[in-house]
C-alpha cells in the first residue's frame, strides 16, 4: 500500500510539478541539472509527497485582531462572566446553547448548524505559556508556532512544506491575499498567494506582448547565460562589456537568477492553471457578500478544479474590538459562521467535504472584564474551531475558570497549547510527523 502511494505520487510528481511539466516544454538547463537532486530529495522525504487530487486538505482561517473568545463561546450561566461584563455580557436568550453552561454567540447560526450536524469541534481555552499581548508578536507566535520568548524564522506551515512536501507542486500551499502569511515562510520557499485570480497573471496589452513575455521567461539557457563576448553588440561609450571583469566570470549571476527563473516558470504555470480553474469551476452554494466569503469561494473553486494543494490560508480582519464591541463582533461572527457554512455546503455539493478540514485561530482572546468603552482589551486564551466531516464534534476540553482568583492579570488561563492542536492536525489529518515541524512532540488531541 505504502509503495503504491509512492508510485502514484511519483507519477503525480512528474505530471504536475514544474519539473515534470517542463519536460513537455523546453527544459532550461539549470532545471535538468537540479532535476535529479530534487527527485532524490523527494524520494528521501519521510512522508508521502503531498500532491494529488485525493489528498486531505487543510484550510486555515485567521481571525485577525484578537477575537473575544469569551463572547464567542459564551459561559452564559456563569456569574463571574456577568459580573465582569455588565454591559456587553450576553444573556441566555442571546446565545445558541450548546449545553447548560455554554452557548455560541447568537450570530454564529452557521456554526450551530455545523455543530448539530456533528461537523464542528470547539476546543476551549487554547493558548500558550507566557502570553504576549502585542498583536504583532502574538500573531508571529501563532504563525511560527514558537515559544513565547523565542523568535522563529520560519512558519509552521512553511516547515511542513520543507519537511513533508519536497518536490511538490508550488501550489501545495495557497494563501488568498497579497502577502504570503508568515506561517508559510520556509527554508525552501513554496506556496503561492494572490488576492484576485484575474490579477494573478501577466497583464498584457496584446497577444504579441503575451507571447513575447512567455518566450522571455521560458527560454532554454544558451551557453553560459547572459551575454558573451562575441554576441555583445557595441556599447557606445561603454568602455568595455561586463565580460572584461575578472576572467572566467559566469554571466548568469549564479543561483539568484536560477531561483527567479524557476519562480517565473511556477508563476506562469500556476497563474494559467488557477485562472483556468477559477473561470471554469462554479460555486454550488450561496455565500454572503464579504471579503472572507470571497476568499472561501475562491478556495472552493480551486479545490473543485483539482489544484494539488494541501493547505489553503484565508483571513478575516477586524476583531480588535476595544470600543463598542457588540455590533462589530455581531457582524464579524455572522460573516464567519455563514461563510464557513456556505463553504461546507459547497464542498458537500462537490463531493469533497470528506477531504477538507477548516481550522480557525486568532492571535489572542480578550480580557475577561469589559473596558469603559463597551469593548474589551487584549487578553490571552480563546477557543479554536475545527470544521469537517471527520472531526470529533462537540465541546472539547474545559472552559477555563472565570473566577477572579483563577485569572492571570485579568485573563483566563489556557489549558490547551495551540501547538497541540497544530500537532493533531499535522499527524491525524495531514498524516505527517509533527515533532520535526513543531520542534518537539506536543500531546495529540483526538480532534480529527
Amino acid at each position: 500500500m505504502k509503495k503504491e502511494i509512492t508510485l502514484q505520487t511519483r507519477r503525480e510528481f512528474l505530471r504536475r510539478t514544474v519539473l515534470g511539466s517542463a519536460l513537455s516544454w523546453t527544459v532550461p538547463a539549470f532545471l535538468s541539472n537540479t532535476f535529479s537532486a530534487l527527485q532524490a530529495e523527494a524520494a528521501a522525504s519521510a512522508t508521502q509527497i503531498t500532491t494529488g487530487k485525493d489528498s486531505t486538505i487543510l484550510v486555515v482561517l485567521q481571525m485577525a485582531g484578537g477575537n473575544d473568545g469569551i463572547n464567542t463561546v459564551v459561559p452564559y450561566a456563569n456569574d463571574f462572566y456577568h459580573r465582569a461584563r455588565p454591559r456587553i455580557g450576553l444573556k441566555a436568550a442571546d446565545v445558541l446553547k450548546l449545553n447548560d453552561n455554554v452557548g455560541l454567540h447568537g450570530a454564529l447560526k452557521g456554526f450551530k448548524d455545523l455543530y448539530d450536524g456533528g461537523q464542528l469541534s470547539v476546543i476551549q481555552g487554547v493558548g500558550y505559556p507566557n502570553p504576549n499581548r502585542s498583536h504583532f508578536r502574538s500573531t508571529e507566535i501563532w504563525q511560527t508556532a514558537s515559544d513565547s520568548e523565542q523568535v522563529e524564522k520560519h512558519g509552521w506551515l512553511g516547515r511542513y512544506f520543507d519537511n513533508a512536501c519536497a518536490g511538490a507542486d508550488p501550489a501545495v500551499g495557497v494563501a488568498i491575499g497579497n502577502q504570503l502569511p508568515e506561517a508559510f515562510f520556509a527554508a525552501k520557499p513554496k506556496g503561492v498567494c494572490f488576492s484576485n485570480p484575474q490579477n494573478y497573471r501577466f497583464i498584457a496589452n496584446g497577444n504579441e506582448t503575451e507571447e513575447s513575455y512567455k518566450k522571455l521567461n521560458e527560454l532554454e539557457t544558451s551557453g553560459p547565460g547572459m551575454s558573451s563576448d562575441d554576441s555583445a553588440p557595441d556599447m557606445q561609450n561603454s568602455g568595455g562589456s561586463i565580460a572584461m571583469l575578472p576572467a572566467g566570470m559566469p554571466m548568469t549571476g549564479g543561483r539568484a537568477i536560477d531561483f527567479i527563473s524557476r519562480t517565473a516558470l511556477d508563476a506562469q504555470h500556476s497563474s494559467d492553471e488557477i485562472r483556468g480553474i477559477a473561470a471554469r469551476v462554479q460555486n454550488q452554494s450561496v455565500y454572503p457578500n464579504s471579503p472572507l466569503a470571497g476568499s472561501l469561494k475562491l478556495v472552493a473553486r480551486l479545490i473543485g478544479g483539482g489544484l494539488p494543494t494541501r493547505v489553503y490560508y484565508v483571513s478575516q480582519g477586524g476583531y480588535d474590538t476595544h470600543t463598542n464591541q457588540i455590533p462589530t463582533q455581531q457582524r464579524l461572527l455572522q460573516d464567519l459562521g455563514d461563510s464557513t457554512k456556505a463553504f461546507v455546503d459547497d464542498m458537500k455539493a462537490q463531493g469533497n467535504m470528506q477531504r477538507v478540514v477548516v481550522m480557525t485561530f486568532s492571535e489572542f482572546g480578550r480580557r475577561v472584564a469589559e473596558n469603559a468603552n463597551g469593548g474589551t482589551d487584549h487578553g490571552a486564551a480563546a477557543p479554536m474551531f475545527i470544521v469537517g466531516d471527520k472531526v470529533k464534534a462537540g465541546l472539547l476540553g474545559n472552559y477555563p475558570s472565570l473566577a477572579p482568583q483563577d485569572l492571570f492579570q485579568g485573563d483566563i488561563k489556557f489549558n490547551v497549547d495551540f501547538r497541540s492542536v497544530y500537532a493533531s492536525v499535522l499527524e491525524n489529518w495531514l498524516h505527517t510527523k509533527s515533532a520535526p515541524i513543531l520542534g518537539r512532540q506536543f500531546p495529540i488531541l483526538q480532534v480529527v
Partner: protein
Amino acid sequence: MLKPISSDRWNYSAAAHLLNRAGFGGTPAEVKSLSERGVDGAVDYLLDYEKIPDPTPDPEWAKPDPERMQHLADVIRHGTPEEKRQLQQEYQKQQRQRITELRGWWLQRMATGPRPLQEKMALFWHGHFATSMDKVRDAYYMWRQNDIFRRLATGNWQLLLLEVGKDPAMLVWLDQAQSRREHPNENYAREVMELFALGEGHYTEHDITEAARALTGWSLDRQAQSYIYRPFAHDTGEKTIFGKTGNFDGDDFIGMIVAHPQSAKFITAKIWNYFAGSEPSPELNEALAAELRANGNNFKPFLRTMFRSEEFYSPDIVRNQVKSPVQWLVGSVRVLETELPPPLVSWGMLRQLGQDLFAPPNVKGWDGGVTWITTNTLLTRYNDAQALVQGSLPPLSAGDFGGKGAGNGQKAMRALQRLRVGGVSVEKILTPEERDDNHAIIASLQNRLFQTNLKQDQQEALQEFLDSKAKMSDADILTAIRLMMSTPEYQVT
C-alpha cells in the same frame, strides 16, 4: 584579503556595479561619468557625500509638538468616552497621512536625491534596527529614527547604537520605555544582542537579565517626545555581563557590546551581505571585522576599503543580488529617467512587493535575497513595470491600502483615480538614430537596463517583437522596455 581592485579592471561595468550596489543605479551617462573618476575617485564621490549639498527640507511636522501631547494627555485623563474616541480617530487619521507623506519623502530622496549612498545606508539601518509604525504609532518618531539613520549612516558604531537605543521609536518599539528596576523589561536587552550587535550564541540568558537591569532608567518623556533618563527607575546594584561585574548602566552595556570581539564580525557580515548579496566567507568576515576595528569602529573608512576591494567585484558577486522592492522601484525610476509614482501608489506597490517602509514585518527586518521573490511578487513586478513605463496604474485593490476598515481602502481607491504615474519618455532614453533601428534599440536598452546583454534567445524574442510592428510607435518601444523588465534578469543587479 581586501586588496584594492587594480585600475585595469576598473571600467564601465565595474562602475555600473558600484553605482547599483552603493546607490540605486543610474543612467548610462551617470555610469560613464562615475567610471571616468577611476575607482578611488568614484568611491570617494559616493562616500564623501557631505561635500554635495542636500537641500531637501524635512516634513514640516517633523518636530516635537508638546502642546498637542498635552492636549492628548488631558483628554485621555479627563475627557468623555465620546471625546476620547473622536480624538483617537483624528489622531489616527493624521498619523496615517503623515506616514504616507514620510514614505514618499524618503523614496523621493532615494530616487532623485544627490546622496544615494547615504540613503542606501539609511535603508540598511532601517532594515537592521527594524522598527514599525504599527507599534510606534507616531510618524514624528519614525522620522526622527530615520534622521539618525541618515545622520549616522556611515558614522560610528557605538554612537549609532547609543543614539538608536535612546531614541523614542526604539524605546517604544522594544518596550524599554516601560522598563523599571522593579520589573526590568528584557525586550531591548535581548534584541540588541541577538539581532542588532552580536547574534545568537554569543551571550547567555543571564547576560540578558543583567543587561536589562543595566538599561533601566533609559526612558521616554512622552510629553517632550524625547529620551529621558529616570534615575529612580535605574537599578544601581551590581550586574555581571559577559563575565565582568560592576555597577553598569545602559551606556556601559553598549560599550561592552561594541568591545565584544563578535560585534564587529556580526555587523560587517551583515553590511557585506547587504551590499554584496551573499554571506562573506569566514576569512573575508575576519578581514572585514579587522578593518572596522582598525578604523575605530567608524563605518566610512571601512566602506571605502570594502567598495574598492577586489572581493567586491568578484564574479560571484556581480549581478547576483536580488533587487529589493525599493531597489527595484527606485532603480527603475532612476534608470528610466521617469518620476516616482505618487506616494499612495508607490506605497501600494511596495506593500504588494513585500517591503512596506516604516512597517517591516518584525524586529528581524526583511529576510531579503530570494525571499523577495514569490510567484505573486514576481508577476506583480512584471505588472508594475507596465505602470512605471506606460504611465497606467497597476492593478491594485482596495485591500492594498491597509487600514482595518474597508472604508480606508475605498477612500484610497477613490483618491487613486485622480492620480497618474509618470511614464517613460522615449526621446529621453533613445537617440533619433537608435530609434530607427530595431537592433540599436535593443542594444541601447540592454545597456541601460542591465549594463550587459540578455541571452541570445531573449534578444531574438525582443527583435521579433519589434520587427512585428510595421510602423514602430513610441508605445511599442515602451512595451519592449516593459518586456525587458518582465524577465528574471531584470530582478537581479
